[in-house]
């Protein structure tokens, strides 16, 4: 399973392409590609978003679904999704949980 991630051009914020078809600042709710065709669809979105200068460094990353949440397989992507482990007051982890924020 893969999701599409990138950094937003204007501020570098790590973003993920959501099931609602917009770039989201958190990994929750990302559009998950479960087969080759879905991956190709996300790759096309990545190219388009890069070409129109919305995002940079777009890439598909491997994820798994754990307890209903999307969890990247690689530590690097886990840290991107959460924030630096030495400063838990920074990055996505410092934000209020989605359920409370909504």
């Amino acid at each position: 399973m893969k999701v599409l991630t990138a950094n937003r051009l204007v501020d570098g914020e790590a973003v993920w392409f959501s099931a609602a078809h917009r770039w989201s600042e958190t990994i929750e709710g990302s559009e998950i590609a479960a087969d080759k065709a879905a991956e190709e669809h996300l790759e096309a979105i990545a190219r388009a978003a890069t070409d129109n200068n919305e995002v940079v460094d777009a890439a598909l990353i491997d994820v798994q679904v754990v307890d209903g949440g999307i969890r990247p397989l690689r530590l690097r992507e886990q840290i991107r999704a959460a924030g630096p482990t030495n400063r838990v007051d920074h990055g996505k982890q410092a934000r209020p949980p989605v359920s409370q924020a909504a």
Binding site: N7, D11, G12, N53, L75, R76, R80, P84, T85, N86
Partner: protein, 556 residues
Amino acid sequence: MYRYDEFDHEFVKARVAEFADQVERRLAGEITEDQFKPLRLMNGVYLQLHAYMLRVAIPYGTLNSRQLRMLAHIARKYDKGYGHFTTRQNIQYNWPALADVPAILADLASVEMHSIQTSGNCIRNVTADHFSGAAADEVADPRPYAEILRQWSSVHPEFSYLPRKFKIAVTGAERDRAAIKTHDIGLHLKRNEAGELGFAVYVGGGQGRTPMVAKKIRDFLPEADLLSYATAILRVYNLHGRRDNKFKARIKILVHETGAEELTRQVEAEWKSLRDGELKLPEADVRAIAAYFAPPLLPARPEGDEQVKLARLDSRSFSEWLDRNVTTHKNPDYAAVTISLKGIGETPGDASAEQMEAVADIAEKYGFDELRVSHEQNLVLPHVARADLKVVHDALAEIGLATANSGLITDIIACPGLDYCALANARSIPVAQEISQRFASLERQRDIGELKLKISGCINACGHHHVGHIGILGVEKKGTELYQVTLGGSADENTTIGEIVGRGFGPEEITDAIETVVETYLRVRRDSSERFIDTYRRLGAAPFKEALYGSEAKAA
């Protein structure tokens, strides 16, 4: 310290305007990322895991309080209220928005600072001994020469597209505190028998995936020939350095593949045609630049000795700090103070905006407005009257910056690692934090004595692990972090590359492994005067391997 002249001001201003325009065009979609990336890198803007990163140059690590306050202002206004001091004596901000970078650069320019050549395949920030101008053992202040090199190398048309980045360091003392032998060019400022100033020139040092100790190619280069000789070295490198393979593109590989003798011959041949040309440094110009670095007028403060003696009796924490963080000054009434940015369990090299501002106040009040950033990721007040040491200590203690661990095991160099860096394979900072906490007891640290521990999160070796007495290299193995331990490195006048001791350790094992190494040293050292590095050089890796791997080591 050096003050910008009219040319410098115009040059930096023009560069800010140029980059502001480039950013604007990028955000408007007029240029692609492929076109923009080399431009942003030339201005110190990287893209990391969570955000952009801006690296600001601090030439030869020298700052005044106004500049440090501006760094604090930028941290607060455009970042998350802190900055990270680096091993190139620079500062990095981890969270700036690209759209804000032009405003940040304009703020920096207002205090004579910039981010030019903090990245890219050009000559990077020239570093120098952080005690320059203050150290009792220096022959002369190396910073005027670092400044001359800075002026010569800034947007140098011939050397802006080198095969790879190029780093120069200068020291003015026999005792090398600038790690010159780990640099592309290392310069040791000294006097010849006639009393004239010049340099021993070392070439081809470096870390990364192929660590090399620089080779001395000239024992004495007259001061006036600094730029012609540096040009000759850069020309030989620019011509023959490998552009076909990024991993073999540094000058260290050229020196290694060509051989130091042949490379020296090529450099000397090139130099012959250059040495009596326009690059010869006019004596008057050298002295004019040196005048900028003249030490402040230091009034006699002979009461310091008595005051320090009394305060030492009165305060244990002051006494401990005095032992570790205060360095002999060339003026007996004064001292150089190391401000540790290595509080127990903290991120090495980080300082909050409030801490920067408080340090700026202290520097202004007690330090003749002078500050340094050390390549060991600490700050330095180079000129403090011994009579003011107690009050400086107390002021630093108030902001959590009086940790008395300079040169001890918790004074760790660590790269940002996988917590921030897009190149990293493993985390560095949490490893540093855990080791720092394990060895938190100052009594224990003092018993262990001088021990340089350095951690990198990938083979690029930004955390200088190759030259740590104990080095730790984080790698990724089968999707998890693994830490290799090297022993016996050093980055002083006896520079050596550490040797890998054996198989690596997982994140949960690495602190125990380091403790095992340290306990082994304590067991086998001759006495407490034999430092870790000396014990390692005497006994080699065997006792440490035995302690770490036991029968496994015997079988191997």
